[in-house]
C-alpha cells in the first residue's frame, strides 16, 4: 500500500515536471512554426483576409481611433484590424505576457523612445528599410523618426507629438508682475517671489515626473562641457571630476529648491500623484508644474484662471533648450505574419489625412509636418519640437530609467546624497556601455 503510494507520487511529480518544462519551451516552439508559415502564407494567398491583432492603450481616444481604423479598412478591405484595449500602465505586462505565451500582438501602441526592452527580446520588427524606401512617409515625420531607433535601426514610428513643458498660473504671474523665466536663475527668482508672497507653493512635479528635472538639465550641462554625444551614449566617466557635475549639479539644484521650500508638498514633495497635482493647480495651491503638451486643453478647462505655458528654463544658455521624450507611436511584432499589412497601417496613421483628423477632433499635436495648423498653441508646440533630443541617456537601459525615476525621491527623502546619486547613475551607464 505504502509503496504504491510512493510510486504514484513520484509518477505524478514527474508528469508535472514534464508539463512544466513544456511551458517554458512554449515560445520557442511556436516561434519556429510562425516563421515557417510566414513565407508560405504571404506568397500563396495575398488576397485572403488578413487579421492584425492590435493593442491600443489610448482608451481616451477610442472614438477617433475607431474612425481611423474604419477608414483604413475602407481602403484595405482585405485587412482586418482586431483592436484590444488595455490601461496604459499595464501595456508592458500585457505585451510581454503575450510574447512569452507565443501569442504576440501584431501591432501595438508604445513610446518609441523606450523600445529597447522589446528589441532585447527580439520582439520588434526592424522598420528601417520600410521607412527608408518610402520618401513620402519618411520626409513627413523626419524630425521625430530617430526616437524609435535602437543601435541605428528603427523599431517604432511616432504618431502623436508629446513632450514635457511647464504650465503656470498666468493670472497669478500677472498680479505679481512676473514674466516667463528663460534661465534657471530667472526661474529661481520667480519661485522666490512666489514663495515670499506666501499664498501658493511655487512649483511641483508629480511623482513620475520628478525625474524630468535632471533629464532637462543634464544634456545642457554635457553640451556646455562639450561632450553631449558621449554623454547621451553613456560614455562619459563621472569619476573624472570634469564630468561629475553633469550628473551631480542637477541634483544640487533640486536639493536647493527643496531646502528653500520652493517645492509643493514640502517634505513630501516627491510623493504627489498626477491627479493630485492637477487638483492642486486648479485649486491655486501651486503656481507652476511640468506636464506633457497633450494636457494643455484639459488643464486650461479645469482652471478658472488664465493658464500659460513656457519652455522649461535652460540651465546654461537661454538660447538652447534640451527637450526629451517626443512622441507616442506604434511598433510591429517581429513575429507578424503579414509585415506589409502592418506597415501599411502604420503609414496610414502617419498620413496627413489621419494626423489632421486627430488634430481636429482631439487637439493632438501631429508628428507629420505636412499638416496645416491653425491653433496658436499647437503651432507653438510644433515649433518647440525642434528642441527635442530624440536619443537620451535615460533610455539607455530599463535599469537606468527606473533608477532615475526614483532618484529625485531618494534625494528629497534624504535616502541618498547628490554625489551618491551621481555615482549610481554613472555606474549604471557604464554597466550599460559594457554590456553592449
Amino acid at each position: 500500500m505504502k509503496r504504491k503510494c510512493m510510486l504514484g507520487a513520484i509518477m505524478s511529480l514527474a508528469l508535472v515536471i514534464i508539463i512544466s518544462f513544456m511551458l517554458i519551451g512554449c515560445t520557442t516552439a511556436t516561434t519556429t512554426t510562425t516563421a515557417a508559415s510566414e513565407t508560405t502564407e504571404a506568397q500563396v494567398v495575398p488576397e485572403e483576409t488578413i487579421t492584425l491583432k492590435f493593442l491600443d492603450f489610448w482608451g481616451e481616444l477610442e472614438d477617433v481611433m475607431l474612425e481611423s481604423i474604419a477608414k483604413f479598412q475602407e481602403i484595405n478591405p482585405n485587412i482586418e484590424i482586431k483592436r484590444d484595449v488595455c490601461p496604459w500602465d499595464q501595456a508592458e505586462t500585457v505585451l510581454k505576457t503575450n510574447i512569452a505565451g507565443g501569442t504576440p500582438y501584431d501591432i501595438a501602441t508604445y513610446w518609441p523612445m523606450y523600445m529597447k526592452t522589446f528589441v532585447e527580446q527580439d520582439a520588434a520588427l526592424d522598420l528601417t528599410s520600410a521607412i527608408d524606401s518610402d520618401t513620402d512617409w519618411k520626409s513627413g515625420i523626419e524630425g521625430l523618426i530617430e526616437l524609435g531607433s535602437v543601435d541605428g535601426k528603427i523599431y517604432a514610428v511616432p504618431f502623436k507629438s508629446i513632450f514635457a513643458v511647464t504650465y503656470y498660473n498666468k493670472t497669478l504671474f500677472d498680479s505679481y508682475g512676473l514674466t516667463e523665466p528663460e534661465t534657471i536663475q530667472e526661474f529661481e527668482e520667480v519661485m522666490k517671489t512666489i514663495k515670499d508672497k506666501g499664498e501658493v507653493a511655487p512649483f511641483t512635479n508629480y511623482d513620475g515626473a520628478t525625474c524630468w528635472l535632471p533629464r532637462f538639465m543634464m544634456p545642457a550641462l554635457a553640451d556646455q562641457a562639450g561632450v553631449l554625444d558621449d554623454f547621451i551614449a553613456g560614455k562619459i566617466d563621472a569619476s573624472d571630476p570634469k564630468y561629475l557635475d553633469i550628473y551631480k549639479k542637477p541634483y544640487d539644484i533640486i536639493l536647493n529648491w527643496y531646502k528653500q521650500g520652493y517645492l509643493y508638498g514640502d517634505k513630501g514633495a516627491a510623493g504627489i500623484s498626477r491627479d493630485e497635482v492637477k487638483v492642486a493647480f486648479s485649486q491655486k495651491e501651486v503656481a507652476m508644474f511640468n506636464e506633457t503638451t497633450s494636457e494643455f486643453g484639459a488643464i486650461k478647462e479645469s482652471a478658472d484662471f488664465e493658464v500659460g505655458v513656457f519652455k522649461f528654463p535652460s540651465v546654461v544658455d537661454p538660447s538652447k533648450y534640451y527637450f526629451f521624450g517626443g512622441a507616442d507611436g506604434f511598433f510591429v511584432s517581429q513575429k507578424v505574419k503579414n509585415p506589409e499589412a502592418a506597415i501599411a497601417f502604420l503609414k496610414f496613421m502617419d498620413s496627413p489625412e489621419i494626423q489632421k483628423l486627430w488634430l481636429d477632433k482631439k487637439g493632438i499635436t501631429p508628428v507629420n509636418t505636412n499638416v496645416e495648423i491653425q491653433d496658436p498653441v499647437v503651432k507653438l508646440f510644433v515649433d518647440w519640437g525642434k528642441y527635442i533630443k530624440p536619443i537620451e541617456l535615460y533610455s539607455l537601459t530599463p535599469e537606468l530609467s527606473k533608477y532615475m525615476d526614483a532618484s529625485v525621491g531618494e534625494l528629497i527623502t534624504g535616502a541618498k546624497t547628490t554625489t551618491e546619486i551621481a555615482n549610481e547613475i554613472n555606474d549604471l551607464a557604464r554597466q550599460a556601455v559594457k554590456d553592449n
Binding site: 505524478s12 508535472v16 515536471i17 508539463i19 512544466s20 518544462f21 511551458l23 517554458i24 519551451g25 515560445t27 520557442t28 508592458e92 505586462t93 510581454k96 510574447i99 512569452a100 526592452t117 532585447e120 527580446q121 527580439d122 520582439a123 507653493a201 511623482d207 513620475g208 509643493y264 508638498g265 514640502d266 517634505k267 513630501g268 514633495a269 516627491a270 510623493g271 504627489i272 500623484s273 491627479d275 493630485e276 487638483v279 492642486a280 485649486q283 495651491e285 530599463p398 535599469e399 527606473k402 526614483a406 532618484s407 525621491g409 531618494e410 534625494l411 528629497i412 527623502t413 534624504g414 535616502a415 541618498k416
Partner: protein
C-alpha cells in the same frame, strides 16, 4: 480496523477535485516557475541555464531585495495583527447588540471597504493623505494639531505606515465577518452556563470564545499573513514603491525585474525566495497558535 480501505477511498475521492484543480492551475505553473528560476530567460527566446546564480545574486548582491522583504514583512506583521484584533473586537461588540437591524447595518458598513476595488481605494486615500488639501491634514489643523500634519505618502519613513493603515482599513471587515460567523456558531448554552458560574465578559471571552474560536483565529491570521506577503496592488496604486524606493515590496520587485528588465528567471527566483519565507512564517504560526488535529470540548 474494518472498513479502513473504504474510508480511505471516500476521503480521497472527497479530496480529488480540489487536488486536481490545484495541480493544474497552481502547481504546474509553480513548478515551471521554480525551473525558470535556475535560468536566465528574457521572456521570448530560449532560457539559458545558469544554475543558482540568480539566487546568489538575490541573496548576496541585491540591496533592494532586503529592503523590499523588510517592507513586506512590516506590512504583513502590522496589518495582520491590527486587522485581526480590530476585526475580532468589532465582532464581539456586534454579537452583543440586541437590535438585529442595527447589528446588520454595522456589519454591512464595516464590510464596505473590503468590497471596494483596490484601485479606487488607492486613489481615494491619495486625496485623503494629500499634504495641503487632504482631509487628514485639514482635520488635524482643525483640531489645532498642526505639529502632527505630515506628507503621509511623501516622507520615506512614514509612507509604508500610511499604506499599512489603508491596508488595515481595507481588510478588517473581512476578519470581522469571519469572527462574527465563528462567534455565532458557538452554542449560547456555554455562555449561559458560564454566567451562572459568575463569569464576567472578559472571562467569557478568554475562556470560551477564544479557545473555541482557535481554528477561526488561526484561519484569520494565516489568510492575513499570506495575502500580506503577496501585497502588490495597494502599494502599486498608492506609491508605486516610492518615494525613491521607500515602499518597495517583494511582488513589486518581481514585476520590475520580470516585465521591466526582461529578467523573468530572476523574477521567478525572487518569487521562490518569498515562497520559502512565507512557508517558514506560516509554519511557525501554525505551530504556535495552530489547532491540534482534535479539539477538546
Amino acid at each position: 480496523m474494518p472498513g479502513n480501505k473504504k474510508d480511505y477511498l471516500v476521503s480521497y475521492s472527497f479530496l480529488m477535485p480540489v487536488i486536481l484543480m490545484i495541480l493544474v492551475i497552481i502547481f504546474i505553473p509553480m513548478v515551471s516557475s521554480f525551473l525558470t528560476s535556475f535560468t536566465e530567460w528574457n521572456g521570448a527566446s530560449k532560457p539559458q541555464i545558469t544554475g543558482i546564480s540568480n539566487y546568489i545574486d538575490i541573496l548576496l548582491k541585491n540591496k533592494l531585495f532586503f529592503k523590499s522583504l523588510s517592507n513586506s514583512l512590516k506590512l504583513t506583521l502590522i496589518s495582520s495583527v491590527l486587522s485581526v484584533t480590530i476585526g475580532y473586537f468589532l465582532a464581539e461588540a456586534l454579537i452583543t447588540i440586541s437590535r438585529k437591524r442595527l447589528s446588520e447595518f454595522y456589519r454591512l458598513v464595516f464590510f464596505i471597504p473590503a468590497m471596494l476595488p483596490l484601485a479606487v481605494v488607492g486613489i481615494l486615500f491619495k486625496f485623503i493623505y494629500n499634504p495641503t488639501y487632504g482631509l487628514l491634514n485639514n482635520l488635524l489643523q482643525l483640531l489645532h494639531l498642526n505639529g502632527l500634519t505630515h506628507s503621509w505618502l511623501g516622507e520615506a519613513n512614514l509612507a509604508i505606515y500610511s499604506i499599512i493603515a489603508v491596508n488595515i482599513w481595507k481588510t478588517f471587515g473581512l476578519n470581522m465577518i469571519i469572527f462574527y460567523a465563528g462567534l455565532k456558531a458557538i452554542p449560547k448554552e456555554l455562555y449561559e452556563a458560564a454566567s451562572i458560574d459568575g463569569a464576567g465578559k472578559l472571562k467569557k471571552m478568554f475562556f470560551i470564545s477564544i479557545p473555541l474560536l482557535r481554528p477561526v483565529i488561526e484561519l484569520a491570521i494565516v489568510i492575513s499573513t499570506i495575502l500580506g506577503l503577496k501585497t502588490f496592488d495597494i502599494v502599486y496604486v498608492m506609491t508605486g514603491g516610492g518615494p525613491g524606493r521607500a515602499t518597495i515590496t517583494v511582488p513589486i520587485l518581481i514585476v520590475e525585474n520580470s516585465f521591466r528588465y526582461n529578467k523573468f528567471g530572476y523574477g521567478a527566483a525572487i518569487g521562490m525566495v518569498l515562497f520559502v519565507v512565507t512557508l517558514l512564517i506560516i509554519y511557525v504560526i501554525r505551530k504556535f497558535i495552530g489547532t491540534k488535529e482534535k479539539i477538546e470540548f
